[in-house]
């Protein structure tokens, strides 16, 4: 991936994936993305896109609903099933309401009917990229916390679980059948290893770790 002169977004560089079977439309979309210095990668079918390795950089998918192999909506389902949460902007030559509702319910960022205003598409693309960036950051945060969490001993994990439930050291000691002083040491270890600055901070981290 070549580093783009990023006018609209901020680093790291984002990628727009375009899936449209109509060569002309596909090229026009690419040209539009390039004009605002977005890195763009075209695909002519849903299957072709599925085979492609999506990078861990901000990205979004501009997806035509009608495609030769399977539809954009089906691709959306397949991506969701494989836990790929790339933000999707649907474009279609002719969209009906049920189709739109289905796409939006499944988490699409936008559903645009051709011909659309370029600004609408670009706004949606930027919003999608921003969302993806956030998601990437969130995923990175969770991963970081998980890594910290993984460093805890089994006893420390037990203690942390009870601490974030708001239990007093005394109560925890009683529950775990040990002394209050021991719990205090464990608790300090947890705070240190998790790099938590306060109890609420630790509670937030615990929620993040527990999320997916």
């Amino acid at each position: 991936m070549k580093p783009a002169v990023d006018q609209v977004g901020s680093a790291p560089a984002a990628t727009v994936f375009v899936v449209d079977d109509d060569a002309s439309m596909r090229e026009a979309l690419c040209r539009l993305m390039r004009s605002v210095d977005l890195h763009v990668e075209p695909f002519s079918s849903a299957g072709q896109f599925l085979c492609h390795q999506v990078p861990e950089t901000p990205a979004c998918l501009v997806l035509d609903v009608r495609l030769p192999d399977f539809s954009g909506l089906e691709l959306q389902q397949k991506l969701a099933a494989s836990n790929n949460r790339i933000p999707i902007i649907f474009i279609t030559g002719h969209g009906d309401i049920p189709m739109t509702v289905r796409a939006m319910k499944a988490g699409a960022i936008e559903f645009l009917t051709k011909p659309f205003r370029d600004q609408d598409l670009l706004d949606a693309v930027l919003a999608a990229i921003a969302k993806d960036r956030e998601m990437i950051q969130a995923r990175a945060e969770i991963a970081k916390l998980r890594r910290r969490f993984a460093r805890l001993t089994a006893r420390e994990k037990e203690v942390m679980a009870l601490v974030v439930q708001g239990r007093m050291n005394k109560q925890i000691a009683a529950e775990l059948g040990t002394s209050e002083i021991t719990i205090k040491i464990h608790r300090a270890q947890v705070m240190q290893k998790m790099e938590a600055e306060s109890l609420p901070d630790l509670v937030r981290m615990a929620e993040q770790v527990a999320k997916g």
Partner: protein, 555 residues
């Protein structure tokens, strides 16, 4: 004598003896003479008798041959004398008294008897000739017809002595006459029927003696041409009625047929004085007379009404085809919108991108150039789509032109492609096919129908590919052959033929007109449309289109 008296008595007695002898001689001579005469007379009378017998025999033969008899009724004796043929004609038996007039009167048919007897009596009183036709009944019950002629014979005193007469057996003539009358009546009836039939069917018949130009026309011919019966029929006058556009064609067809001494079949028009047009259909055959002259016999039918009905039917059919097409295209709106919006979307997006590139500090001219080229391309693409849709939507009379069937298929497929519902198209289009003569829109309508039906048939198919095959080939007989195969649910054998019936449908929202119309469209093009079941899944619809249409004689 004086000499003898002067001589002696002996000589006198001798003289006397001589005299006696002489006398005797004279007597003998006389006798001989008489006897000779008699003999001659006998011979003469024998000859006469022979002649009489012969003439009687001749008469008998003659009477026999002509079924004629003659008789004489002697009024004084009341007896009848008749020729043998009379007995035969009246069937008189040997034991019957042939001289009894009552026997003959008795043979007269009871229905005719009073009339005939009255006539006889009147003629007897008036001493007049009579002539009568009547029937006789023979003992075996046979009825025969007879013509009897009688003539009264009067004596010097002017009294009626007898009646002589002849009778002819006219049974054969009578029978012939009756047959003739029957035949004539039948012929008259037949002619009446024929005239009526010609009037009803508006068919006239005619004959034309080519060498003399003589024309014979039935009444209906005059009615069709609206000529007065009194008109002097000439080929020229007939030709004046013919529609001027058709005359050269008629002259050519007829001229060639006459040269080849055969009949012809022809459809042409008449232009009537009031400006109306009649459509005629003529069928003729040629006959060559022993003289070598050619005579044409023909029937000519006024098919104007049927032509008009045909034309109305054709119009109704076109109307129906148009409406059906609209319905089908209505189902395709989504596709059409997609097809139009696709290039339109690309145009707008390229134009937007173009502007953005222009507005940059250092415009990328390559991007701008490519964007504009693409806009031009898509502009044309969009207008082509619209033209195709408009062509399908328009209601224009069929326009037959030379078509490349593969192009026609590709165009329609481009339109239905977004509507394929997951079916995969498999093309097997043969290159270099002969061009076919047809109406693009109508043939596309057929293809549209077959493709949409195939898609519909495969809608619920799972577990096997939804293959839609379209194949074209050249036919050995000329023309092309198109096959549309699906892998759908198939059609039950007993329904295979019914699918072409109007209003037969398995779809809940279908009219059931698509296939019936498709078939008539293809048949109108001189081709054939049929369906067969596939060995594995689904059915195959196939149609053929000839290179040219069967020559039409008249527009």
């Amino acid at each position: 004598m004086t000499i003898a008296s002067q001589e002696d008595p002996d000589s006198a007695s001798e003289l006397a003896a001589l005299r006696l002898e002489l006398k005797q001689c004279r007597v003998d001579l006389e006798i001989i003479r008489n006897s000779e005469q008699n003999t001659r007379r006998i011979a003469e009378s024998k000859l006469a008798e022979e002649q009489l017998r012969r003439s009687e025999a001749d008469l008998h033969h003659a009477q026999r041959l002509t079924n004629t008899c003659s008789w004489k009724h002697d009024l004084s004796t009341g007896k009848v004398i008749a020729t043998p043929e009379t007995y035969r004609i009246f069937d008189i038996q040997p034991d019957e008294d042939a001289s009894d007039p009552a026997l003959y009167f008795g043979r007269i048919h009871p229905e005719d008897r009073p009339r005939v007897l009255e006539l006889f009596q009147r003629c007897e009183i008036e001493k007049a000739d009579y002539e009568a036709d009547f029937r006789i009944v023979l003992p075996d019950g046979t009825v025969r017809h007879q013509r009897s002629v009688g003539h009264p014979v009067l004596n010097e005193a002017g009294e009626l002595v007898e009646f002589v007469g002849t009778a002819i057996d006219t049974t054969e003539q009578e029978r012939t006459r009756e047959n003739l009358e029957r035949a004539l009546a039948k012929a008259q009836k037949t002619e009446a029927y024929l005239v009526e039939a010609q009037r009803l069917s508006q068919t006239g018949s005619f004959s034309w003696h080519v060498a003399t130009g003589d024309l014979f026309w039935s009444d209906e011919m005059f009615a069709i041409y609206e000529f007065d019966r009194a008109v002097d029929l000439t080929v020229e006058r007939v030709h004046q009625r013919v529609h001027p556009d058709d005359l050269p064609m008629i002259l050519e067809v007829v001229g060639q047929a006459v040269r080849e001494e055969r009949g012809w079949e022809l459809e042409h028009r008449l232009l009537m004085p009031d400006g109306s047009v009649k459509h005629l259909r003529a069928v003729t055959h040629a006959e060559k007379h022993a003289s070598g002259d050619l005579e044409i016999f023909g029937a000519l039918m006024d098919v104007t009404a049927s032509k008009q009905a045909q034309e109305r039917l054709r119009l109704a059919h076109m109307e129906l085809a148009h409406v059906t097409r609209l319905t089908t295209i209505g189902e395709l709106t989504a596709s059409i919108a997609h097809e139009v919006n696709q290039p339109l979307g690309a145009v707008v997006t390229n134009a937007d991108a173009c502007l953005r590139w222009l507005n940059r500090e250092s415009p990328n001219l390559n991007e701008i150039r490519e964007a504009i080229s693409s806009i031009i391309r898509d502009g044309h693409r969009g207008s082509e789509v619209i033209a195709r849709v408009r062509a399908l939507l328009k209601k224009a009379p069929p326009e037959k032109q030379r078509l490349d069937i593969n192009t026609v298929i590709r165009e329609i497929v481009a339109m239905v492609e977004p509507n394929l519902c997951g079916a995969t198209l498999e093309f097997a289009l043969t290159d270099g096919l002969p061009l076919v003569l047809g109406d693009r829109v109508l043939i596309q309508q057929v293809l549209l129908n077959l493709i949409l039906n195939a898609v519909e048939a495969m809608k619920l198919v799972t577990g096997r590919p939804r293959l839609l095959g379209i194949c074209t080939k050249a036919r050995d007989e000329g023309g092309v052959w198109v096959r549309v195969t699906d892998a759908g649910e198939g059609i039950k054998r007993e329904h295979l033929d019914r699918v072409f019936t109007a209003f037969y449908t398995t779809k809940s929202d279908g009219l059931g007109l698509g296939l019936s119309l498709s078939r008539s469209i293809i048949e109108d093009h001189g081709g054939r449309l049929w369906v067969t079941s596939n060995e594995t899944h689904g059915v195959t619809f196939q149609f053929t289109l000839p290179e040219k249409l069967k020559g039409e004689l008249a527009p």
